[in-house]
Subunit: 720 residues, 2 copies
């Protein structure tokens, strides 16, 4: 028995803290289980009542003469601990703590919660809550409403996990209004033990769950979450996961001296996590329901296997009996990343043979206001068979000849013969209700407005695209970890938390980055000698721990073309620096090769307490400051993810030989991202890092680090 089965499908339930007073949570939950038709045996536990709602009560869970699978606990924190101990003695298999007053109030409550979790962990008992609405399993074999919502949802194929109890009741109401059925419905409250990842893993194995919806305020696991959920969404069983995430609970980046730090808000972390895990993020509850109904749509194949209908591509055929909604659908199709299919000549001929003269035979197909179900059926059948069509949106508006129910049946007939998704939009709530109900009862997604149907189709396509992604072979890098460790150790033992440019460049070199030849010159002659050796033109920069803004101090001279100029530049920089800050300790100047031309990109990292290193890539220089055209990925970032990140940059066409420029070396960018991911994972002391700009050259010409900024933290508080 899976360790969460006791929570969702218990044979017996004890309600500890059951009460005889209506309005009290301990009464309502007990009543909801009892009246919800629970198929197992239910026991109220109350030290002073003889019976609750006519059911014999027991003073303690230990007094129940039978085995108990699940305890629902509704007791104040002070007495809850005792009840948990008794439950453990009794040998229960799961506990749902509904009561509040634990971690969320801090102090004693938090301590109590920790103690309960620790006891249950030792006893191998999983705990849901505390501070939650409860758990519902509406499926007929269990039919358990262990929640304080009086409304038992219909059974269905969608499971819902909610971090907010209040949202649960609203979602149940909304679902009732939409004939929306659930498989499991769970409020996770404080997540003291069971969290969303545990539930995702459980529900992924649940044969009754086809789609998982989550309302989330924060995650407590990052890389581990991605690793597992990636398998859930794209592995063998392929369960779509839809998330509505809210809450600006700062994920708490540790510093913000870098661009990466400043740009990577907690939303960036979550967007990265969801993208890397293959989770579909939705913006509103409306969308959550709309998308869920599209994803839940499965059809029996001719071998009798249920298969989710996903589009193979983004080419949509629209069939409508009204122009206006067809245009709305077309617009939204395009803005949802889809495109209108172009029909083959044969399809157009078939359409012509079935449709009136005035009908539009091209996409969107207008079957005209007086279309009967037969005309819809013929048109839909023709377009769905077209090889250039990946799925269809059928729009029906109530007009005088419209028969919504018969048209719904016609749609189902065509859908059963095709493996392409067909989404319907029956406009109007009352006049078309017979058709809408027919489609809903048979599990076909149906929407009230064409924009909703088109958006849901877009989500199906994005998911299909995620499933079809190529997994690129990893790069085989060899890094000089030992030397890198030395550079970091030396800096830290010298008390430095900001690496100087020379050290920064050295560290990046250990991980295979191409850097500009750079050396420190202590005299004018040394500067001239180094410059001659490096090769002209060179750049020279002041090196002084007291001077951070080198340009302000006249401490940077570029375009130095010969040895005489190098000597002169050295003197000028030292003089300027001394004048700028007479007390500055001056180490000399860096002599650095002038960077070859290239596209300015930025590559950075910022570290989060729970999630670990977050890698940022985007257009650098002024672009990053003005447009924040950057993409994030939580480490580890492999080659496929690196490529997705590069493609995710809005100005990506700058790399593609845009306006006569050479095509950029994007493979070296993929390498750079993967190298950085490896580096920051190997060295938890690197707190923050910006390579800005990383200059990307033409194909096969690589990329050069032109400047970098690296911030360290003492290894003993690295937080890893």
């Amino acid at each position: 028995m899976h360790n969460l089965d006791a929570i969702f499908s218990p044979q017996s339930v004890a309600v500890v803290g059951a009460s005889a007073s209506p309005g009290k949570v301990g009464h309502d939950i007990f009543a909801n289980i009892l009246k919800g038709g629970y198929k197992g045996t239910l026991y109220p536990v109350n030290p002073s009542a003889k019976s609750i709602l006519s059911v014999r009560a027991y003073p303690s869970v230990r007094d129940i003469p039978d085995d108990i699978d699940l305890v629902i606990l509704i007791l104040p924190p002070k007495v809850a601990l005792r009840a948990v101990e008794e439950s453990i003695e009794k040998g229960v298999k799961g506990i749902v703590i509904v009561s509040a007053g634990f971690r969320e109030v801090g102090g004693e409550g938090l301590e109590m919660e920790n103690q309960i979790v620790s006891l249950c962990k030792d006893a191998n008992i999983r705990v849901v809550g505390p501070n939650c609405l409860g758990v519902i399993n509406p499926l007929p074999l269990v039919s358990m409403n262990a929640s304080f919502s009086a409304r038992m949802p219909s059974p269905g194929k969608i499971s819902f996990i909610s971090q907010s109890g209040a949202l649960c009741t609203a979602v149940l109401d909304f679902a009732a209004d939409r004939n929306f059925g659930f498989s499991k419905f769970i409020s996770i409250g404080n997540k003291a033990d069971v969290d969303e990842l545990d539930l995702l893993l459980y529900l992924h194995e649940d044969p009754d769950t086809e789609v998982i919806m989550i309302y989330l305020e924060e995650l407590r696991r990052g890389p581990e979450f991605i690793e597992h959920v990636k398998v859930i969404t794209s592995g063998y069983r392929r369960t779509p996961v839809l998330v509505i995430k809210s809450g600006r609970t700062a994920a708490g980046a540790q510093a913000a001296a870098s661009h990466t730090g400043a740009l990577a808000g907690s939303e960036a972390v979550y967007d990265a996590i969801f993208r890397q895990a293959g989770i579909i993020r939705v913006d509103s509850i409306h969308e959550l329901f709309d998308f869920a109904s599209a994803f839940a749509y499965k059809e029996e194949s001719h071998l009798g296997k249920l298969r989710r209908k996903l589009p193979r591509g983004n080419r949509v055929a629209i069939v409508t009996n009204a122009g206006g909604p067809g245009i709305v659908a077309t617009d939204m199709t395009v803005s949802s990343g889809l495109r209108l299919a172009t029909f083959q000549q044969e399809t157009i001929q078939i359409l012509a043979s079935h449709l009136p003269m005035t009908a539009n035979l091209n996409n969107p197909v207008d079957v005209i206001g007086d279309a009967t179900q037969k005309r819809y059926e013929n048109a839909l059948e023709a377009v769905i068979k077209d090889e250039g069509v990946d799925g269809s949106l059928v729009i029906l508006t109530p007009q005088s000849m419209t028969n919504a129910l018969e048209t719904a049946k016609a749609i189902v007939r065509v859908a059963r013969k095709s493996d392409k998704p067909i989404l319907s939009c029956f406009m109007g709530i009352i006049d078309v209700s017979a058709g809408v109900e027919f489609l809903q009862e048979h599990g076909y997604p149906v929407f009230s407005f064409p924009e909703d149907a088109a958006k849901a189709f877009g989500a199906l396509y994005r998911y299909s695209d995620w499933l079809g992604q190529r997994h690129l072979p990893q790069f085989g890098f060899e890094h000089d970890e030992e030397q890198a460790r030395g550079i970091i150790r030396d800096a830290l033992s010298a008390g430095k938390t900001r690496l100087g440019e020379l050290d920064g460049v050295g560290l990046l070199q250990c991980y295979g980055f191409d850097v500009l030849p750079t050396q420190l010159a202590k005299t004018a002659d040394e500067a001239a000698g180094i410059a001659g050796q490096i090769g002209f033109p060179v750049v020279m920069k002041i090196v002084s721990p007291q001077i951070l803004h080198k340009t302000d101090a006249g401490g940077v001279i570029i375009g130095i073309e010969d040895e005489a100029a190098a000597r002169k530049a050295f003197e000028q920089i030292i003089q300027g620096a001394t004048a700028y800050r007479p007390d500055a300790e001056i180490h000399g100047t860096l002599v650095q090769k002038m960077a070859p031309p290239g596209i300015e990109t930025i590559l950075g990292m910022n570290r989060y307490p729970v999630f670990g290193p977050l890698i940022m890539f985007g257009l650098g220089g002024i672009y990053v400051e003005l447009f924040q055209d950057v993409v994030f990925g939580l480490a580890p970032v492999g080659r496929s993810e690196a490529r997705r990140m590069i493609r995710g940059v809005k100005g990506v066409k700058i790399f593609k030989g845009f306006r006569g420029r050479p095509t950029a070396d994007t493979e070296v960018l993929e390498q750079a991202i993967v190298r950085l991911s490896g580096m920051v994972r190997n060295h938890p002391e690197i707190l923050e890092l910006d390579i800005n700009p990383l200059l990307v050259h033409g194909e096969d010409e690589g990329a050069t680090v032109a400047d970098c900024r690296i911030i360290l933290m003492a290894s003993d508080d690295s937080g890893q």
Copy 2:
């Protein structure tokens, strides 16, 4: 009597083409008027029926013994013309043509439509349609459902204009489900005569209309539309106009040789028109209804005047009995351009005295799950009185102690005492229905989900912001129109439709643009002389009608520092050009002053057949190519609109002394936009224009035209 009153509030209606056969449009419309309780007198016209639905019928409208205000025409195009002639003879005041088969089918239908419109125009009769659903006035004094929708909406304060008949029926169904009432409901079909602007002007004067919603596929008037609708939305009566626009019916820009042409799709034109007219564009029917209910919300002031409640600023106070939805609202508040209000100390003290210890006294205020109506009332009253609060969102989720109806009453009590808007979100459709109905009946906006309420609040704020905009005094420019006309005339008579750089620069100079001193040199000595006179450094460029891509021909040399270099450059350019294209007719080279440094912007114009010149402004150079960070405005663009355009650029902070750069001269940008608007209106021969880059310098240092491209069309087909 206003010329559309006969359409919306006729004393008598004749249905010409009324039929006794159910299912026929002529029957259904007649039946709908009859059964809808029309307060005037209704006459069926049918040449062969004695009576229709027991009402005495007349063979022709001329046979009716009484005066007729409105004719509803349901006849095929061939016989419609005769019926129109008879109606004119009869002296009717308005005609609604429901039948289809006119302009939309072309040919004879189009001709028939034109003839009807022309006859009616001469007779001073307004025509709605053809090819429409009809007209509905649900207000009790009229109660006319002259449409083929069997559903008569409830009376209300919102008028709806739809370009799609099919969408009308869906909207009526949706409205019925939401208890949404209408003042006027009209399907405009082909817009042969009456169009959306006529109706906007009429409804703006209508005392029963508070908000206008439009479903639009295309506009046929541009600058005129803006000019009038601006007054409707922001003038004395201030009627909010909400538009859902769809349809990629290309607005038809005339060429696309310029950036402006390539970037300005028809959506850009519409976005500009809506912004300039103060119209609020919505994305979906859900949003249309949500926003309309928020905008319809008016309250009696203590002087007994009804006033719309608009927020003075964007600071929102959230009061909720559940954490999760409060967070959702907070998130959406921020992404809707609002911010969470910070409470004064006094407010927090009042909250503390009314709320339990565990309540959150800061924004969002959590009154805790067990909040009664009294606690809601106290908290809401405290925050709405705070000077730092511009309005409130109240969120209620059904929990055990929740009384939705009493809380609704409490909200209304507080709202009546305040002039700040309060939007409610009652989550759950069934359990909270008593409260929702109470609010709806009393005209208070109530939503199902916090994100919807927050978005609607954001729309109220944007509208309030539009109303409160400053109107800047116009610039007083004097332009040398005469010389500009000469340059254009000369180019056109020489058969040129693309102005050379020298002429382009000359044209811009006539309108006060700062250009770089530029002269044509025909020999190397001339080049050296001109360069010396202009002042070094200079740029030199080949001038040849056959060489468009000057750089490819080695035809551009920059950074010429002295006379010898100028001579050398001349020879080199001529040689290169001759080698590149031996047959090229070479006029010499331009000698141009090197541009001073500045921020690269782009300023352009493209001309549309109906809408006229569309001005584009944005970041130039590579920015425009990569990020398309540009904003559009339909001419004429005055100073206030120019400022709004500049502020609308995403990367606007580049002008604000960003990262140590000097603050840019944005006043000169405003001037440049206004100058360009004047120029393209004065010279309809200018078809397309790009100034790219227009280099903007530091404050009071102006802006320089560094390059321009101007395309002309022969003045006799200017389309203006």
